[in-house]
């Protein structure tokens, strides 16, 4: 392997000069620069990033933490985050926690060991905010998508509570009052926010919701199908449901069709995320749009700024989702 020292020797200059050429420093004569560049080309010199990283204590890489990448929402989120990072000269290390506390802690350890410059926590943590903060002290962590408090680290998320309230109110106002609610992990800040919105919409109308109709651990198409079978076979008294995701909604619709339940006449459904799948079911899925593109772009901008800049108190930025009415309600 040819090193910076070899290039220096072959060019008849010092390491420092070669280094300056590599880094595009000024104060190098045009003559020297071209001479060095020539030698570099001739010998196919490639700088070693590890040495540079060690010296500068910067890896130019950012870790993204998600529960699972094999998922229509998270894959989209990571796609945008990763692209935004790349645009700023950073590469992204993807970590799937599969909701394992051990894996999550592993990642925080890697952060402490300087294996990346920051973590984007793009999901709920299996730890409390305080614990996360403790594991990552003096390092940079940003929460994306989850409704954290904003006291320990910066937060970028959707107005989950408000928009869920709006969607729920839409159904209630149509006289559809026996409602169900699906979540993947009900303990996460995101799902808690949605649940709050679901409840407060009931409160405003002076209605009660049925705790038996809060379904947890529902996240895939298959889960939606199974839940539908349960609802329609056991003849649960549910008239509508906030589905948690468009994929779950698609499964529910499929199950309703199988059981000859007319949608929206006898059963109403609202999904989440405005995924293209909501266009191909019959009927099409009413859903809630997110602001992934805007959110991820601004988040990454913020991370980069913060990496160079000074410490400041955390910020929390909230984006507005919107209810989109189609055929399923």
């Amino acid at each position: 392997m040819v090193t910076i020292y070899d290039i220096a020797r072959l060019s008849g200059v010092s390491k420092s000069t070669v280094s300056r050429v590599i880094s595009n420093h000024p104060h190098v004569s045009a003559e020297t620069r071209s001479k060095v560049l020539n030698i570099m080309q001739q010998h196919q010199y490639v700088p070693n990033s590890l040495a540079k990283q060690l010296r500068q204590k910067q890896t130019k890489s950012i870790a993204i933490l998600v529960p699972n990448l094999n998922h229509p929402y998270f894959s989209q989120l990571v796609s945008y985050l990763s692209a935004a990072c790349y645009a700023k000269g950073f590469k992204t290390v993807v970590h799937q926690t599969f909701s394992s506390k051990q894996i999550e802690i592993d990642v925080y350890t890697q952060l402490q060991r300087n294996e990346f410059d920051a973590i984007i926590l793009a999901s709920s943590s299996t730890l409390s905010e305080e614990e996360v903060a403790a594991y990552t002290e003096n390092k940079l962590v940003i929460a994306c998508n989850e409704d954290y408090s904003g006291t320990y680290f910066d937060v970028f998320c959707l107005n989950e509570e408000e928009v869920t309230m709006k969607a729920t109110a839409y159904l209630l106002n149509k006289g559809i009052s026996k409602l169900g609610f699906c979540s993947d992990y009900i303990d996460s800040p995101l799902q808690q926010a949605r649940l709050k919105g679901f409840i407060s919409a009931h409160d405003k109308k002076g209605l009660n919701y049925n705790k038996d109709f809060l379904f947890n651990h529902i996240s895939t198409i298959e889960d939606g199908i199974k839940l539908g079978e349960k609802i329609f076979h056991e003849h649960l008294e549910i008239e509508g449901i906030i589905a948690g995701s468009d994929f779950v909604a698609a499964g529910l619709i499929k199950s309703a069709v199988n059981n000859n339940i007319q949608i929206p006449q006898y059963f109403s459904i609202i999904g989440f995320d405005n995924h293209p799948i909501s266009l191909v079911t019959s009927p099409q899925i009413s859903t809630i749009s997110n602001c992934i593109q805007e959110m991820t772009t601004e988040l990454v901008d913020h991370v980069i700024r913060k990496m160079n800049g000074s410490k400041q108190t955390p910020i929390k930025k909230v984006y507005n989702g919107e209810v989109i009415i189609r055929g399923s309600c």
Copy 2:
């Protein structure tokens, strides 16, 4: 920041001994070991991975190259690959090329600069095999999912040609002979293999295919819908289609429904990948299963072995997909 040297000083031993403790080397007395471990705990010492990586010329990270992560197939593929790497103690850096040659070359440059130990090329390259080999000489590259030759680097892929031939033959044998074929990027080895299978099924029956019915750049639900509108509005003489993906198939079905075209009576569809979406359309989608789990596990095992072991001639491993008949044909 507390370094290995600080720990050595505070423990009253040398750097070397501390290093041995960290690395779980033998030949350290139990007494010394526990003493050092104590000091490390007290001062919350965390080793710096960058220094270790520089010294050992190993990053314990592997890059995965895909065109786009916001995609039902690639997100699944990366999910499995990433999980398999993690299980072997490697982290994964995800790079989306968006089919940009420049971005792809960037990644190869990073490989040369030792920013990761290997690349898994999980898609078609924008470069020829020779070019990729040239950019990555002396480094480790493995192809996943694409039907490369196996002369320049190791290849793990599906029997795309054979299985596409079977699917095509299934339709032809039912008397459905005016067939279309969708691809995302027709120039990729994968799509070329599928096309070969499509054609050879026709050849075996002594039939011709219509070149006007080879549709390129079709990959999303929306693309499928648009293509359906074109087919049904312009009354193209197509009786069936090999859709390239279940998402495209879902879009086509939606469009057929919109235009009152009965499936499979008047139009047949076969998708790819056996994604859960094939369960929620009406009718359900006939499709082709892949072997992602087996393929990715064996591939990662192979990468790891090869990283430690000696050079050997590349291998090519082919997995068998299967045609799954449901309602759409």
